[in-house]
Symmetry: C2
Subunit: 300 residues, 2 copies
């Protein structure tokens, strides 16, 4: 079994959704990504939590096959984010961000994790993403996620990171922002020129694009009649994507395309429940069913 | 050969694109749709132009296999629209609309067109769309296009029209506006409940969705690195779609899906040139090549 190393934030999210408040739900990019990847391969999680992190969350992660040897329990409280979604869930406002122990997060990769062949650098400071790569052996595949904040304040570190990774995952606005190029095809080419062989541009409800060499794959999203909570959908997508690659150990173009399909399938489960509940509960047959659903959705 | 009857606007467009002004280019929804449909089947065009409509445009349409027995030449000038696109072509502002002879357009369907098995009701007043249907025999397939203006001021006429057509084509915002439903899957179901068996929701650069019974088809758009002029892309899409159906005479679910692919292919040519120039010039082998391109783009 090829394990996947996932580094990133672990948090509690307080979510205001359709007039209801869900207080301190388990969240964080690395949590979503780990629970998604764990459907396909063993996960080695590196992150930091506070003393308030409950045994129930530890148990949930362990039960799913997530190795917590890299989970640092620091003095203080766990990262907490609070946000309110608009009625139609198309936008959200941050009400509160308490970085807490995450403010001083310095990823320490346990010896037992350093040979992980598949690595996901979750959306954290690119300086820390570099530090993770400095601590590990040469992996078979490194995926990195990022966000507008780092494009703004860590532009050159992020560009340098691109030369060290195999796949950059970001959304359409971030791709435009990072390259200063409005056309997504040209933006993707500019990103590939920085280093990564694979560039995946997420477009939310409009699906995703995968650029590999001169080849493009376009995947629509599953049209869903019920979306409950979009939190973590992007992290889930990336986590399932790398977990799928780890399971198969196949880095062919077709395998990468199928990895996107599996990412999108897990993201579709993610948004159907509050927090990680639906994502964690998806069964292998449910996942298989939606992969087949994608074939029916897209075939002509 | 099964002809396609197309009713709608014929115009001159003055287009401001990337700082250049293209004056009085041949345009109008029915023009784009006819030139697109004519790649696949004979077209019978019904519309009105003024005395200023040039022989060169008449010749272009006739040479493409468009029957102009339904082209009314009225006293006055041809409909003229002038607009300026934003730098990235994502939005446009109308600078001038001279309806001219189009203001009094009353579609008169020639006897020789009344048995047309495939009919496209271009984006005109739903009252006129009803009048077209009143004048013709029962066709095998009727497609109707519409726009936000008619949803605002002809809401009930448009709803009643839905009961008389086989396919409604509209964009995502129009689908939400017409049904007062934010979720596109639920909006499509609400539209199907009004009558049309097939509902096609266009999403511009994000592709299109086709709802048929309980089945959904999602088609991404071809990622293009060069877009010159988006004018008429939606009309081209719908025109090629119905032209493709007319050519095959097959109304199966798979044939409908392939009709969307052909619509999208012709739209991709349309936006690569100013006005109708690239659309009209696409060769059968170029069209075939892009259909194959769609297979490579979407297969996994």
């Amino acid at each position: 079994m090829r394990p996947t190393l996932i580094v990133g934030s672990i948090a509690f999210d307080t979510l205001h959704l359709s007039g209801k408040c869900h207080s301190k739900v388990l969240g964080g990019a690395a949590t979503y990504a780990s629970l998604a990847a764990a459907h396909f391969a063993p996960v080695q999680l590196v992150g930091v939590v506070g003393h308030d992190f409950p045994d129930s969350a530890i148990k949930l992660l362990k039960d799913r096959g997530v190795d917590l040897a890299g989970l640092e329990v620091a003095r203080g409280e766990t990262f907490h984010w609070e946000g309110r979604y608009s009625e139609d869930l198309s936008s959200r406002e941050t009400l509160r961000t308490d970085l807490n122990v995450f403010a001083d997060f310095k990823p320490k990769i346990p010896q037992s994790f350093r040979a992980a062949p598949y690595v996901m650098l979750g959306n954290i400071d690119p300086v820390l993403q570099h530090e993770v790569l400095d601590q590990i052996d040469k992996p078979a595949f490194v995926l990195a996620d990022t966000m507008n904040l780092w494009i703004d304040i860590r532009h050159s570190e992020l560009q340098k990171l691109c030369a060290r990774i195999d796949m950059l995952v970001l959304n359409d606005e971030e791709a435009r922002q990072l390259t200063d190029e409005k056309n997504l095809v040209l933006a993707a080419k500019a990103l590939q020129a920085l280093g990564p062989k694979h560039v995946c541009i997420k477009k939310g409800e409009h699906g995703a694009l995968l650029f590999q060499g001169d080849e493009v794959f376009a995947l629509p999203a599953l049209p869903l009649s019920k979306v409950v909570d979009p939190t973590g959908a992007g992290d889930t997508f990336a986590g399932a994507l790398i977990g799928y690659l780890a399971r198969g150990g196949d880095l062919s173009s077709t395998s990468l395309r199928r990895a996107l399909v599996h990412g999108s399938v897990l993201a579709s489960f993610c948004v159907e429940g509050v927090g990680t509940e639906r994502l964690a509960a998806a069964s292998p047959s449910e996942i298989h069913g939606r992969v087949e659903g994608f074939r029916q959705l897209t075939s002509f």
